[in-house]
């Protein structure tokens, strides 16, 4: 037989095996889902409050989260469905809800508290009967972010606004109101920006990130900085008055400090949101993969099912209550399918590998984020340097891998004593700068090999952390200005620039230095940190 013939036969068989395996998975999944116990366990483990109604819209089941939201002991009687929906809301769920639409309304719990939620409905047909699943996503946290934003804005002398995804102002503080009505009462807000493309600004609401431009309002200069909040589809706009800076060099220092303080508190408040952007980025790139390879759609469906189920299965409390054997069969099948994908080369499988990997990556980002989201204080604490480095790397792994950069560690762990969020931002900043330096380098020189080396050196009571890259490097003249406020060689500022890093390091008893032999010579960010005392 010819080689090609053999290969073709082999591929045909592999394809058939794949289809059979998929069928097997569907079958086992179906069996599992048919067992009520399984369904109930899944429903109970969900983060959203879930109600299942029968075709007469009578309550069949409510999950644990829903009981928690209602503040009712799990298993106790629930009040009738209509009574816990706030009567004033525009759409009441017991009337025709459209499947797949998010309704924003309030859930009234047993204590009479109103919990802001998104409600969405889906219909499942089971043995010819229609059942309705109502899912309540608790928005309290998001509302809190919104309120925080509002109160942060209200007393702020700087103009602060919130735009929706169409660029319409939906909220602004008194200062913004005053400035805008004084100077440009008739213009639409985005028209004030001559250099920045409006569409680019609007895209921030979808993709996150930030942009800024200096404009003249009345007779004062403002740096207006746009920041996309994709979770809420908003764009936040912060104005920094730089008139004084322009007018008087002597007052510069004071102003700078003030601005740094503002930028810092913003940075801290928005740390939580930043990492969610990273998740968004990863998801976007997955979506990209999916749409470019339309033939793999079916596989994608399975892979998604696979990874969702796999992560479910991994949680121990979930496993305990399950029909052990069925679950194990399914787990084994899924592993089988995924290893099957991995061991065959063709774009088909490549896409799936990619997705499986990225799903894990998302998981890592979320976990990391959850650790930091609760830490909105500026209090110093004692923690492992290596741990925080790993966390920062996880947050940016996506960018590092996308550019095929070799990441090398040589870390001798030490406990440091500083404020944690600032350090995470400083390290992140160094990593991002390194990655961007390689982008620039690649555009010019296309080296074969790019690396970031992260290593430490311990001294008596301090530890030095080095983040070294072989990117484009920095010219001497630029090096001298790097830490000045507002100095950036990038078009898109990061919101927590080197100036803030330097301030942060100083306030925490450390220091930051950036070393480079010049253009084309790579760069090293060196952080000196105080070690925690025993």
């Amino acid at each position: 037989m010819l080689n090609e013939e053999i290969l073709k036969k082999k591929l045909d068989r592999e394809k058939e095996a794949r289809l059979l395996l998929e069928g097997e998975i569907e079958k086992t999944t179906r069996e599992l889902f048919q067992s009520n116990e399984f369904l109930e366990n899944i429903i109970d483990s969900l983060q959203n409050g879930i109600l299942i109604l029968n075709s007469n819209r009578e309550l069949v089941k409510a999950n644990k989260t829903f009981y928690q939201m209602m503040n009712i002991e799990y298993g106790d009687d629930l009040p009738p469905v209509e009574s816990f929906i706030w009567e004033d809301c525009e759409s009441k769920p017991e009337h025709e809800l459209e499947n797949g639409v998010d309704y924003e309304l309030y859930l009234k719990n047993i204590d009479g508290q109103f919990i802001p939620v998104y409600l969405s409905q889906s219909t499942i047909t089971n043995n010819k009967n229609e059942n309705y699943i109502l899912s309540f996503k608790d928005l309290s946290e998001i509302k809190k972010i919104e309120n925080d934003f509002a109160s942060f804005a209200r007393f702020n002398p700087a103009p602060i606004l919130r735009l929706n995804h169409q660029g319409k102002i939906i909220q602004m503080n008194p200062s913004a109101e005053k400035k805008l009505s004084e100077s440009h009462p008739e213009k639409s807000f985005l028209d004030l920006f001559k250099k920045t493309d409006s569409q680019e600004i609007l895209n921030l609401s979808k993709n996150g990130g930030s942009l800024s431009e200096t404009i003249l309002l009345g007779n004062e200069y403002y740096v207006m900085s746009f920041k996309g909040i994709p979770e809420l589809n908003y764009i936040h706009v912060y104005g920094f008055n730089i008139t004084q800076r322009i007018k008087s060099e002597t007052e510069k220092q004071e102003l700078q400090d003030e601005l740094v303080k503002q930028a810092y508190s913003q940075g801290v408040a928005e740390n939580a949101i930043q990492v969610l952007h990273n998740i968004g980025n990863v998801l976007t790139s997955i979506m990209g993969k999916i749409t470019t390879k339309n033939e793999s759609e079916i596989l994608n469906r399975n892979t998604q099912l696979l990874s969702q189920m796999a992560s479910k299965l991994e949680s121990p409390e979930f496993r305990q209550e399950m029909d052990e054997n069925k679950l194990k069969q399914l787990g084994a099948l899924m592993k089988e399918l995924s290893s099957y994908f991995q061991s065959h080369q063709s774009i088909f499988f490549e896409a799936n590998n990619y997705i499986a990997k990225e799903c894990k990556h998302i998981g890592d980002i979320i976990t990391t984020q959850q650790q930091y989201a609760n830490l909105k204080t500026q209090i110093k604490s004692k923690f492992s340097l290596e741990g925080i480095i790993q966390d920062c790397v996880v947050m940016h792994e996506h960018r590092i891998q996308k550019r095929n950069i070799n990441l090398i560690f040589d870390i001798n762990d030490a406990e440091v004593f500083v404020e944690k969020i600032g350090l995470s931002q400083t390290i992140s900043n160094a990593i991002v700068n390194a990655v961007e330096a390689m982008d620039e380098d690649y555009a010019l020189f296309q080296k074969d090999y790019y690396y970031i080396v992260i290593y430490t050196k311990r001294n008596e009571d301090s530890v030095e952390l080095f983040i070294e890259d072989n990117g484009i490097g920095i010219e001497e003249e630029v090096l001298n200005n790097l830490f000045k406020y507002g100095y950036s060689t990038k078009e898109r500022g990061s919101g927590f620039g080197l100036h803030n890093c330097a301030n942060y390091m100083k306030n925490n008893g450390g220091k930051i230095e950036i070393l480079s032999g010049g253009r084309g010579q790579g760069a090293i960010t060196k952080l000196t940190l105080p070690m925690a005392k025993e």
Binding site: M1, I6, L7, K9, K10, R13, E16, A17, L20, L21, E24, T28, E324, N325, K328, Q329, G331, A332, L333, K335, E336
Partner: protein, 175 residues
């Protein structure tokens, strides 16, 4: 026999010969099934036919082939079910729990798997007596699996076995 064993056998042939060899075996043995997936069960006879065809085509002795297949198969099974194997730090404790835990778990994962029965008796930290009871009567396969097990733990092993009525009694020493 579960599809996974067929998959492992296919890899075994391809590794020792090539893709063409497996193609030939499938063709010459005229079996109905040519695609095997791990969760499904297939008739034992198909396996036997494939094995016999392979032996004939490649002029292999059955005993040696089964031993080396067993050795190869263990590494694959251990990889597939690493969560089961990882708990053990030596081959003797694994064999002690083969019947009571590992194959029990295997039967949960592979619906309809027919695993053999083993009775293990630890003599001391290096020696073990293992009785193999199965309608399939594959002592050479067991021998190979034990070699594979020793490879996995990086141990040297020596063993003897004798037939004891319908069963086989293995005397195993790991060093």
């Amino acid at each position: 026999m579960k599809g996974i064993m067929f998959n492992i056998f296919e890899s075994f042939i391809i590794k020792n010969f090539n893709d063409e060899a497996w193609e030939e075996i499938l063709e010459d043995s005229c079996v109905d099934e040519t695609v095997f997936i791990s969760p499904r069960s297939y008739d034992d006879n198909i396996f036997a036919t494939l094995l016999n065809t392979a032996l004939q085509l490649k002029q292999l002795p059955i005993e040696k082939t089964l031993v080396s297949f067993g050795r190869f198969a263990f590494s694959k099974l251990a990889k597939h079910s690493h969560h089961l194997v990882e708990k053990y730090d030596n081959p003797i404790s694994l064999l002690e729990e083969l019947d009571g835990i590992i194959h029990v778990e295997v039967r949960k994962i592979f619906k309809g798997a027919e695993t053999p029965k083993f009775i293990a008796k630890r003599i001391d930290d290096e020696n073990l007596e293992l009785t193999y009871i199965s309608k399939r009567n594959l002592p050479y396969l067991v021998e190979g699996l034990i070699y594979g097990l020793a490879d996995y733990f990086g141990k040297d092993v020596s063993l003897k076995w004798e037939q004891d009525l319908e069963n086989y009694k293995f005397h195993i020493t790991f060093k």
